[in-house]
Amino acid sequence: MMKKESMQPPTAQSKWNINGLLSACLTSCVLISSILIFCGFILFLITGLDNSQLLFVRLDQIPAAIVLNLGIIALISTPVIQVIVALVRFSLDKDMTFAGISLILIILLGICYIMTAN
């Protein structure tokens, strides 16, 4: 039998349930990273580099590097952050099965990163 709250429209559900929390986390991280990437890219364009080297400049060669770099790091760290947020949420909810699964996933991602980076 279905629970009563699942009949509510999505917008009426608790803001801080797992879906609401992860959505807020993802939205914030994507917004921050896209603003940083956009600003960094505009800064790069107004510095006026030669077109022939336009796409291949390295991080340490342009003044806008720090902004672009931060945006990209924020973006590719977002999914890892969401698994950490899920781990915290499930732990607070005493849902140890999914807290455990989230923890295993973080460990696996760490192992995967170490294995391939080396």
């Binding site: 992860l22 990437i37 291949f56 977002t78 999914p79 996933l105 995967c112 990163y113």
Partner: protein, 278 residues
Amino acid sequence: MSILLLAATGLFAGFFGSMLGIGGGFLIVPVLTLAMRLPIQIAIASSLVAIVANACLAASRYTRSQLTNVKLGLLLCSTTVPGAMVGGLLAKVVAPEVLAVFFGILLVYVAWTMVMGQDPNSGRPNEENSLATVGYMSDTNSYYDKAASKFVLYRIRHIPYGLGGSFFAGVLSTLLGIGGGVIQVPIMNVVMTVPIKIAIGTSTFMIAITTAAGALVYYHNDYVYPVLVAPLVLGTLLGAFTGTVLIERIRPAALRRAFGVLLFITAVAMFLKVASLL
């Protein structure tokens, strides 16, 4: 010109990727390598960052609209990631061409099933072998389908097959260099009887997690060129936003058919790739 091409590529990849629950790398990598003549490592690195952007934005909207089953996504990720690691080890001993032929045949069969069949489990929860009966979740799941203006009830079935299939998806995605979504969405929809919109939303959530690990590695190894990636990512975000707005208004049957066609194209591309190597 290059900047415009990058932004347009990102726009298309983000739009179709978010609507079909796939990464969009199938579009980005060929454009960067064939049209822009970039080295494959740089193309893959740029593609991975764009896929993360696409998946994160799409997942944020699908999660808020209850189109993502977070628990199911985390559960399946727990076997997809080890599968990808095993795939990396198997790559040294298994000929990918042989695997590609068998996988291509399987894709044609699944494509046919998705185009001709109906969305399973919509509105008819089933007790047999569901998440509820194996103790992972407490009740029937539901989501609000805006296109049909009604709540859809569903139960997730055949969890062991789903976990096995996800492991297999991880292995294949590394061995064949294809996106996880092409495999994960049919597994959830056809095998686990998850409605197509939930399968796409959950697949997007999973892609964000599994792709991030690869993107971090490429970033660590200095393959990510920020000025190359920036227009690609900005275009992808715009495309993904549009795709996620549209998906809620599209009927599930149309989405299943579109996904079936995508699978068929992927299968043909695999056969052609193998044929060119023989």
